[in-house]
C-alpha cells in the first residue's frame, strides 16, 4: 500500500472541511480526487503533504507513519495550480532546488537535472527564467521539480486549472506518460470530470468534506452508489422508485429490475439513466425495448455530434434529458411540441438517500 489515509479529519471552527476520510492507494496508481470547489479535496492533498495539520486520523506513505512529520520529512512532491516556481531562479536551479537542500554533490545534481529536463522535453530551457516560459512550460518544470528527489507520492492540486483547453489536453497526456514510466504513485485533485475520466486509474468522489465513493471511471459513471456521483459525473435522469420482487415500480409504470440489485429489494430506490440511454419514437410508432412513458418535446439543442432533447413527461411534467443522433432526429422529424414515446435502453438503481 503506497498511500493510506485512516479517518483523517480537518476542522475550521465547528465545520469539518475534511470529514473522516479513509483511503488506500496502490503503488503506481494515479488516483483522482474529484469534487466541486470548496469540497475539501485540496485540503486532503495539503494534509498528505504536511501543509495543513490534521485534527484527527492517520496518514501513512509507503508504510511510514507521517501523521506528525513536517512537510520537509514526508518525501512528497507537490505541484500547485499556479506553478509556484521560484521566480529568481533558472529552470535548472528550480529543478535542482531540493537536491541542493539535501546537499547532493554538484555533478550528481547536474546529471539529475539534465535527466528531468529530458523527461519533460525541455533540454534547451535550463538557463531560462520562469517569467520567460509559457504557462504549460512552467507547469512541466513544476512537475520536474516535484519529481527531482524521487518522492514517495506526487501530489497535484488542479495542475491544469490555469491553462487553456488545448494545452491542458496535451499536458494531461504528458503527465500520464511520465507517471506511468516512473511508476510513481500520484494523487490529482480536480473539479473537471473530463480530466478525471481521462487520467484516473481510480476516482474518489468528494462532497462537503466526505469521500462518497471510489471506483474506476467506468464504474462510477454507469453504476454510481450516490445521487451526487450520478449528477456530478455527467447528466442523469433520476426517478424515485421501489423495487419489489423482480420488478421496479415507478409510479404507475413497471419495469424489470436490472441484475445485481437484489440488495435493494423492498426498499425505496432511485432509478437512474443517462441521456444517451434514452430512445425516442413518434407517438404512433412502436418502440424497441422498455417503454418508460410518453411526453412532449420541450426543446432541441445542438450539442456537437448529438442533439440534446428535453422532453416533458406526461402527465407528471418531469423533464427527461435525451441525447439523440441527428440522423434519427431527422428520420423522426422531431420538433418542439411533438408528442413522443420514450424508452430506456439501460438503467441503474441506487439507494434513496
Amino acid at each position: 500500500m503506497s498511500i493510506y489515509l485512516h479517518n483523517i479529519t480537518k476542522k475550521y471552527g465547528a465545520t469539518a472541511v475534511v470529514d473522516d476520510v479513509s483511503l488506500e492507494i496502490e503503488q503506481g496508481e494515479l488516483f483522482v480526487l474529484l469534487g466541486p470547489s470548496g469540497s475539501g479535496k485540496s485540503t486532503i492533498l495539503r494534509m498528505i503533504a504536511g501543509l495543513a495539520p490534521l485534527d484527527g486520523g492517520q496518514i501513512s506513505l509507503n508504510g511510514r507513519d507521517v501523521t506528525h512529520l513536517p512537510p520537509q520529512k514526508r518525501h512528497t512532491g507537490f505541484v500547485f495550480q499556479n506553478y509556484s516556481l521560484f521566480q529568481h531562479m533558472t529552470v535548472a536551479q528550480n529543478i535542482g532546488f531540493g537536491l541542493e537542500i539535501q546537499k547532493v554533490p554538484r555533478a550528481q545534481r547536474k546529471e539529475r537535472v539534465e535527466e528531468l529536463l529530458t523527461l519533460i522535453e525541455m533540454q534547451e530551457y535550463g538557463n531560462r527564467l520562469p517569467a520567460q516560459l509559457s504557462g504549460g512550460q512552467q507547469q512541466r518544470v513544476a512537475v520536474a521539480r516535484a519529481l527531482a528527489q524521487k518522492p514517495d507520492v506526487l501530489l497535484l492540486d488542479e495542475p491544469f486549472g490555469a491553462l487553456d483547453v488545448k494545452i491542458r489536453g496535451q499536458l494531461r497526456q504528458n503527465l500520464r506518460e511520465i507517471q506511468q514510466r516512473l511508476n510513481v504513485t500520484a494523487i490529482l485533485v480536480t473539479h473537471d470530470q473530463e480530466e478525471a475520466f481521462e487520467l484516473a486509474d481510480k476516482i474518489g468522489i468528494i462532497d462537503k468534506g466526505r469521500l462518497l465513493e471510489i471506483g474506476t471511471p467506468d464504474q462510477l459513471y454507469r453504476h454510481p452508489a450516490h445521487r451526487f456521483t450520478a449528477t456530478f459525473l455527467g447528466n442523469a435522469n433520476l426517478f424515485n422508485a421501489h423495487r419489489n420482487g423482480s420488478t421496479i415500480y415507478i409510479g404507475e409504470k413497471r419495469l424489470p429490475a436490472p441484475p445485481n440489485t437484489e440488495f435493494l429489494a423492498g426498499k425505496p430506490v432511485q432509478m437512474m439513466f443517462r441521456p444517451e440511454e434514452v430512445v425516442i419514437a413518434s407517438a404512433s410508432h412502436p418502440l424497441d425495448g422498455n417503454v418508460f412513458g410518453e411526453g412532449i418535446i420541450e426543446s432541441i439543442a445542438f450539442a456537437g455530434a448529438l442533439e440534446r432533447i428535453a422532453i416533458k413527461l406526461d402527465p407528471s411534467g418531469e423533464l427527461i434529458q435525451a441525447l439523440i443522433s441527428p440522423e434519427i432526429s431527422r428520420q423522426l422529424g422531431l420538433r418542439p411540441g411533438d408528442a413522443v414515446k420514450i424508452g430506456v435502453k439501460n438503467f441503474h438503481l441506487l439507494p434513496l438517500e
Partner: protein
C-alpha cells in the same frame, strides 16, 4: 524618437508641469547654489569642514543609518505578519502603520517630552529619552516607519505562500526558505524602502528638534544646525550645509530611480 502629436491641451499641460517644476524645484536649487558660492568656493569649503558643522552632519547620518537598519529588520517582520498571518486587530494595526505619515512630527516630539521629560509620566524610564540622541533616534525610527513595510507588503502578498510551501515540501527549513526563496523576491522592494527611509530620516527636523532640544555639540543634527545658522545670520554655514544635504538627497534620488527601473523589470 517617436512622432509626437501634441494637442493644444497637451501643450498647455506640459507647460504647466514645466513651470511648476521650475518654480518649485529648480529655482530653489539655483538660489541655494548661487547663494552658497556668492563669495567663491572658499567660504563653502570652510563652512563644511568646520568641526561643529561636520559633527551635526555626522549625527544626522548616524541617526539615519541606525533608523534605517532598525526599520529594515522590523519592517520585514511587520510586513510578514500583516500579510501572512490573520489575527484579531490586524486591520487596526495595518492602519496604524500610516500614522507617522499623517501626524505632525512636532506633535510626536512634544508627546515624547510630556511622557519622558523631567516631570513626565514615564520619567523613571531606564533610558533617558528626553533631550538625548537616543530620543532623537526613537523619533527618527517612528517618522520613517511606514516606508519599508509599505514597499514589501504588496510584493509578499503578490507572490503568495505557495512558493514557500513548495520549498517546504522540497526539504527547506522555514529559515532556509526565507533566505533562499522569500528574501530574493523582496530584495529590491526592501532596498527601495531603505532608501526612502534614509532620505526621510536625514531630512527630519521638527520631531528631533523638539525631543533633542538642539543642544550644540550633542543633540544638534544637520537640519537643526541649518536652522540655527540662519537665526545667527551665519548664511555661509546654513547654505553650505543645506547644499550638502541637498547633494546627498539627490544622490539618494538617483539610486532610487535606478532601483525603481530595476524593480519594474522584475
Amino acid at each position: 524618437m517617436k512622432e509626437r502629436n501634441l494637442s493644444f491641451g497637451g501643450i498647455l499641460l506640459l507647460a504647466i508641469v514645466l513651470i511648476y517644476a521650475g518654480v518649485l524645484l529648480l529655482a530653489p536649487v539655483l538660489a541655494l547654489v548661487s547663494n552658497t558660492f556668492q563669495n567663491g568656493f572658499e567660504p563653502f569649503w570652510n563652512a563644511i569642514t568646520d568641526g561643529e558643522a561636520l559633527g551635526t552632519l555626522w549625527l544626522s547620518i548616524r541617526l539615519a543609518v541606525l533608523a534605517s537598519t532598525f526599520n529594515a529588520i522590523l519592517g520585514v517582520m511587520v510586513a510578514w505578519v500583516l500579510v501572512r498571518h490573520t489575527f484579531w486587530g490586524k486591520g487596526f494595526l495595518n492602519a496604524l502603520v500610516d500614522l507617522p505619515l499623517v501626524i505632525s512630527p512636532v506633535i510626536v516630539g512634544y508627546v515624547m517630552i510630556v511622557l519622558f521629560g523631567r516631570l513626565g509620566w514615564l520619567k523613571d524610564f531606564p533610558i533617558k529619552l528626553a533631550f538625548s540622541w537616543e530620543g532623537m533616534l526613537v523619533l527618527t525610527v517612528f517618522v520613517s516607519l511606514p516606508f519599508v513595510i509599505r514597499e514589501i507588503q504588496p510584493v509578499l502578498s503578490g507572490m503568495g505562500k505557495e512558493q514557500e510551501e513548495a520549498a517546504f515540501t522540497l526539504g527547506a527549513t522555514p529559515w532556509g526558505t526565507f533566505w533562499r526563496v522569500v528574501f530574493p523576491a523582496i530584495r529590491h522592494a526592501l532596498t527601495y524602502g531603505i532608501v526612502l527611509t534614509l532620505a526621510r530620516s536625514l531630512g527630519e527636523f521638527g520631531a528631533v528638534a523638539v525631543i533633542g532640544g538642539g543642544t550644540q555639540g550633542s543633540t544638534e543634527s544637520a537640519t537643526i544646525y541649518i536652522y540655527r545658522s540662519l537665526n545667527d545670520r551665519n548664511y555661509a554655514g546654513a547654505y553650505s550645509m543645506a547644499l550638502l544635504l541637498g547633494i546627498i538627497s539627490v544622490v539618494i534620488l538617483i539610486i532610487m530611480n535606478n532601483l525603481r527601473i530595476h524593480k519594474r523589470g522584475g
